[in-house]
């Protein structure tokens, strides 16, 4: 199924600090394109006090994707998701979700399902009452689905939410969000509180929902390993900045681990951007992103894993933040 999902979407947009894409211009020129993006942000920023939780975030997420939003703790993942659902208002820039402004109108709200970090539920209400509340508050509520799922999970409908385990709570929150029948599902660290087995089952459930109802999903985690099996689109967020965004398949194809002796350094093709360098015993290993084909040279070409890729961009993002911080220190 994974392979099928990779087939039909072209590489839509990538963005990182060095190459900001002229998003706003292309959006104005081709309004039809708005329909194919579930989330579009332009120079989006959110500030808490004097620090920016998210800065200059320009991103286009195509529809019918399972998007992994990955970054270290405090990178701005939750902020981005809360902006997308309208719980936060941006301090700068714009964000468009499913063609509308987040949280603006009931019609906008009913199209976006959201499971917040730690899956908050009303501890005094029973599982059944949560479902009834979902029914009362959402016009497209799929009660049959919700009940079926609760039974499949083995949850007692009369059980108070306070007595649910972390995993059960996450499952209840996911059920509420999915039974709403949204077009876009936003999940903030959905598997953080789950043990490995529950984690796998939870992700399987999400994949089932995706294949049955064709929703787009954005799920965040600080571990790419959690999401690797399910996501076909990746966004790496580090220190309030988007470091990398793109289709997983494209990203894996365009990145290479090259190793060779140090003397070969000069032979790297100009269309290769070096993401990370490692030296050991005169041996050079570089992770490059190629805009074309990697030239046949004395370098040995090795495939990269998603893990390598995310780690490389994370450390690059961290270094960039250090530079920004020291720069800011001087200017003060």
């Amino acid at each position: 199924m994974q392979a099928d999902r990779h087939e039909y979407q072209s590489f839509s947009s990538t963005n990182h600090n060095r190459a900001p894409a002229p998003r706003s211009a292309s959006r104005a020129a081709a309004p039809a394109k708005v329909m194919t993006a579930v989330l579009e942000s332009d120079k989006l920023g959110k500030q808490y006090g004097r620090s920016w939780a998210l800065e200059n975030c320009t991103l286009t997420i195509p529809e019918r994707k399972v998007v992994g939003l990955v970054g270290p703790n405090g990178a701005g993942k939750s902020t981005l998701l809360n902006l997308a659902v309208g719980l936060l208002a941006p301090n700068s820039g714009t964000i468009t979700v499913l063609g509308g402004r987040p949280g603006d109108a009931p019609t906008q709200l009913e199209r976006v399902g959201f499971v917040a970090q730690d899956a908050p539920v009303y501890s005094a209400l029973s599982v059944a009452k949560h479902l009834r509340m979902g029914n009362y508050l959402n016009p497209k509520w799929d009660g049959a689905f919700a009940m079926r799922r609760i039974h499949e999970l083995g949850l007692d409908p009369r059980q108070k939410a306070a007595t649910l385990s972390g995993g059960q709570r996450a499952q209840l929150a996911l059920t509420l969000a999915v039974a709403k029948r949204p077009d876009l599902l936003l999940l903030d660290e959905p598997v953080a509180s789950l043990d490995p087995l529950a984690r796998r089952e939870f992700l399987q459930d999400i994949m089932e929902v995706v294949s049955e109802h064709g929703v787009s999903v954005v799920l965040s985690s600080h571990l790419i390993g959690d999401l690797e099996r399910v996501c076909d689109y990746l966004v790496v967020l580090v220190a309030s900045h988007v470091q990398l965004a793109g289709e997983v398949r494209e990203l894996l194809a365009s990145h290479h681990f090259l190793s060779g002796s140090r003397s070969d350094c000069g032979t790297l093709a100009p269309n290769c951007e070096v993401i990370e360098e490692r030296h050991a015993d005169g041996q050079e290993t570089v992770l490059v992103r190629s805009r074309g084909t990697v030239p046949a040279s004395s370098w040995t070409d090795q495939p990269v894993t998603l893990d390598d890729l995310v780690l490389a961009y994370m450390s690059r993002g961290r270094d960039a933040r250090r530079v920004r911080r020291s720069g800011a220190g001087v200017s003060r």
């Binding site: 809360n82 719980l87 917040a116 730690d118 009303y122 009452k129 508050l137 709403k180």
Partner: protein
Amino acid sequence: MIRSSWLQFRTQAAVAFGVLAVVGVVLAVTGPHLVNLYDSTVANCNAQHDCSTATTVFTNTDGPLQIFGDFLLLLLPILVGIFWGAPLVAREFETGTFRLSWTQSVTRTRWLAVKLGFGVVTSMVAAGLLSLTVSWWSTLLDQVRGDSFSPLAFGVRDIVPVGYAAFAFVLGVTAGLFARRTMPAIAKLSPGIMKRSS
């Protein structure tokens, strides 16, 4: 949204109206006794030329109950502010459930409007019922005392407690909104209500 509010609120409402019912029964049972006593003392005191004794005897009857009724009417707005008003928004922030409730297919404005309306109406109904019962029970006592505009009596009769309850509820919500946590909200709220009571 209204059904959803009711779903979350009904246990508290049931407790409140249960207590009110008990108070109502107690006052209904003891009320006729006061009327009889009035008839036998104050009503014909002119014939006996000793109205002051009759009045004293009558107004001292059921002293604990009189105090209890007035005390409840003073307490009710405070309880409404603390248990219904303050947690309304603060509890949502405290437990993070605002991320659940404000991302359903109902806008935040509507959510707040319905919750506020629901709480204000329920608080007013509760205060109204209690005030009605106590005012009925005390009709003859108040008539004999004739001090309905003294600070204490004014605040615990007829529609005045209804206004206090509505005010206390909204004050509680506002305190909760700014404090974002239930207990600090209650702490901030208490002086406001006390000031109004004194």
